[in-house]
């Protein structure tokens, strides 16, 4: 497509063409209207003047006969810018007047009707015939004389041609100006659209980091480009996530599968005793279970991330869940020599899924148990679970006194299958935090990971310990009315029976 055809096919150009056409039509109409009316008005005036003249001359003829009429006409002819006069005798000869030539047929109409004629004024050469336009009236006087009185229309013709020129100029100017405007405007728009197309083509070809150009002048193209860029950010994020997941699936699911396959193959090749065979099968079974667990976890996260499909949010008392889960894990912590403290400062009610919230908290506690070991050998590991609330939010925090997570890693650890190098040796799938994050997002909450405090040995200045904070919005009922309303009792009852 050439630039011209592209310009012609743009919406802006089509609109401009429509406007231009209708504007031209209106202008022409207006011009015709004005010139027609002006013409009519002027003609009327001319006719009035002519009529008055005729009246005067007819009276003069009545008073003083043909000679008086001739004198009167001759006097009037001499005055500058005079009307047109002509007196003819009965045989059609000119007695006096200031007209050199008139078409024959004009003179034969002598009933006084208004006639538009071409004439040649007296004093012009024969070759310049029909030089003037005029309105004339011809009367027959008693005695077979004919009297012609008329008025030259030169002024009117002049005005008409003036108006015509003005219109032409006006139209040409308008078209040219509009053309120039639209050409440049279109070129600018087309250029930006071409830029967009080119950028998007590059992105489609795989350069996911590419973005559309934003000029910064805040026009509609900038807004569009901004929105598209945000969309591209999201797509890139998802693609990166997907790639990461597939890479990790490759690693985290394929590794145990390879191991399993190898073991089974080796078992087939060797002549195993019954006990050895049994042992091999046992190990394989354990590994299969681990794989199933990982698989279930991935599915569960996908499910939770997909949104509320199937998950019914109900009013739940967070404190009950915290109590349940902490009670479940307390003996484990104690067995591992971990100081486990729980403090429930508030009794927030939130809209949530009891099962998922419990699992999220269980994951956090399990993480703390697994990774929250302090560096210094003489310090006892400690886990603190803390539930508090504000008017709007419930805040659940789990703190340990381990090494914590460096700031640079905090965002990354919430991704699927991500395991920090320091924890790769410990059993686990790298899915715990992803699930927590998904659960918190489902509940419109926020997951914050920070350092819990200074390290236990307090010799270095750095910070240590992980504080995971889950901030969840309170249920509408509790935010509004507080304790004692019906829904609250229902939630309490539900948890009491469970």
């Amino acid at each position: 497509m050439t630039t011209l055809t592209r310009i012609l096919s743009t919406t802006a150009f089509k609109l401009a063409a429509i406007y231009l056409t209708s504007f031209t039509a209106l202008s022409v109409f207006l011009f015709i209207f004005i010139s027609q009316n002006t013409d009519d008005l002027m003609n009327k005036q001319v006719v009035q003047t002519v009529d008055a003249e005729i009246q005067g001359l007819v009276e003069q003829y009545a008073q003083s006969g043909i000679n008086g009429l001739i004198v009167g006409v001759e006097r009037r002819v001499r005055s500058p810018n005079s009307n047109l006069y002509l007196i003819l005798d009965y045989s059609g000869n000119v007695i006096t007047g200031n007209i050199a030539y008139l078409p024959e047929k004009v003179l034969s109409v002598s009933d006084g009707r208004i006639q538009f004629v071409s004439y040649t004024p007296l004093g012009l050469a024969e070759t310049n015939r029909n030089k003037g336009e005029a309105i004339v009236r011809i009367f027959e006087l008693p005695g077979n004389f004919k009297l012609l009185v008329g008025r030259d229309l030169e002024d009117q013709v002049h005005l008409k041609s003036l108006l015509g020129d003005a219109l032409t100029l006006w139209l040409v100017g308008m078209v040219v100006l509009a053309g120039i405007t639209w050409f440049f405007l279109n070129r600018r728009i087309l250029k930006r659209i071409d830029n967009f197309s080119m950028s998007s083509r590059l992105i489609m070809e795989g350069d996911l980091a590419g973005r559309l150009e934003v000029t910064g002048n805040g026009d509609e193209f900038d807004r569009l480009a901004n929105n598209l860029n945000v969309m591209l950010d999201r797509i890139e994020e998802l693609m990166t996530g997907l790639k990461e997941v597939s890479d990790n699936i490759a690693h985290d699911l394929k590794t145990p599968l390879t191991r399993m396959r190898g073991r089974l193959e080796a078992a087939l090749r060797q002549n195993l005793s019954e006990n050895e065979g049994r042992e091999c099968l046992d190990e394989t079974l354990v590994e299969t279970d681990e794989l199933i667990n990982t698989f279930n976890a991935v599915l569960r996260i996908a499910r939770v991330e997909a949104g509320s499909t199937g998950v019914e949010l109900q009013l739940v008392k967070l404190a009950d869940i915290v109590k349940d889960v902490c009670e479940l894990y307390e003996p484990v912590a104690e067995d591992k020599g971990v100081v486990f403290t729980v403090s429930l400062e508030d009794e927030p009610v939130i809209e949530g899924d009891r099962e998922l919230l419990a699992q999220a908290l269980a994951n956090l506690i399990e993480n703390a148990l697994k990774y929250g070991r302090p560096d210094a050998g003489n310090v006892k590991p400690a886990i603190k679970v803390f539930l508090s609330g504000t008017d709007e939010q419930a805040i659940l925090s789990i703190e340990d006194n381990g090494v914590g997570i460096a700031e640079a890693d905090r965002e990354r650890v919430c991704n699927r299958f991500v395991r920090l190098d320091s924890s790769r040796h410990a059993p686990g799938s790298g899915l715990g935090l992803s699930l927590i994050k998904a659960v918190v997002t489902l509940h419109h909450g926020e997951l914050q990971l920070t350092y819990a405090g200074r390290p236990a040995d307090s010799e270095s200045d750095g910070q240590s310990g992980l504080r995971a904070r889950i901030i969840l919005p309170l249920s509408k009922g509790q935010r509004g009315e507080g304790e004692g309303n019906e829904t609250w009792d229902k939630a309490r009852k539900k948890n009491a029976t469970s």
């Binding site: 279970d289 199933i292 667990n293 279930n296 599915l299 569960r300 499910r303 199937g310 998950v311 019914e312 349940d324 009670e327 479940l328 894990y329 003996p331 484990v332 067995d335 899924d353 099962e355 998922l356 419990a358 699992q359 269980a362 399990e366 148990l369 697994k370 059993p427 686990g428 715990g432 469970s498």
Partner: protein, 226 residues
């Protein structure tokens, strides 16, 4: 125990039939929903094991039909769909328990056996007894060999559940589901720790142990002394 398995996967069904026979039960099998429903209605069963997705007739609709006709045979639903919400729909349709695939046979066996007990009638015994261990539901007290044992509320519920199904194997997942009412899989051995605490209270210092660990399956309270 007569068990009907309605499952369309031939291999899985064969495996189940074989394993249940080995465990001393008499299982039967249907490989589609229509036949399954017919078999379920025309015979008496102790437990039905029904796959959720079946040819000809959906597993849930079989259960709904049975329940509508007043048949209260315990049903264990098997499903490749795991997760809580599927579980909830399954139980709402009238199922008694839910097991997601893939499962361990020991888990299925334990659940089937516990379900068959449920059919025997809702015994609201106020006292549960295994050998010299007595649990009084009304007084909320536990005693062994006449000697009172103090338990935490959760330990009491744990023991209550184990004793209710005394002699049968109870898996860790079943304990988490029934004693704590949670359905997720803890990565750590939380249940083991709770059970070992309970064990130290009811078995330590007495003549013979009552709370046994069943390798690869779970726990069981029974009197092995004689």
């Amino acid at each position: 125990m007569r068990i009907l398995i309605i499952e369309d996967d031939r291999e899985a069904a064969d495996y189940l039939l074989k394993a249940l026979k080995e465990a001393g039960h008499s299982p039967d099998h249907a490989d589609n929903g229509e036949d399954g429903l017919e078999l379920a209605i025309s015979n008496t069963w102790d437990v039905l094991v029904i796959d959720r997705m079946l040819p000809k007739r959906d597993g849930l609709s079989i259960i709904e039909t049975l329940r509508a006709s007043g048949d209260e045979t315990p049903v264990l639903i098997l499903s490749a769909l795991s997760q809580v919400d599927d579980r909830v729909t399954g139980l709402r349709a009238g199922g008694d328990d839910y097991l997601s695939k893939p499962y361990a046979f020991s888990e299925l066996l334990a659940r089937v056996e516990v379900l068959s007990r449920r059919k025997a009638g809702p015994q609201v015994e106020t006292k549960l007894q295994v050998a010299d261990l007595v649990l009084d539901r009304l007084a909320h007290s536990v005693a062994r060999a006449g000697q009172e044992i103090l338990l935490q509320p959760r330990e009491f519920r744990l023991l209550e559940y184990l004793m209710k199904y005394a002699g049968q194997v109870v898996t860790r997942t079943m304990l988490l589901e029934n004693v704590w009412d949670y359905h997720f899989d803890p990565q750590t051995n939380v249940i083991d720790v709770h059970v070992s605490r309970l064990r130290s209270k009811i078995d330590k210092g007495f003549d013979f142990p009552l709370l046994h660990t069943v390798r690869g399956a779970g726990y069981s309270i029974r009197d092995n002394s004689n």
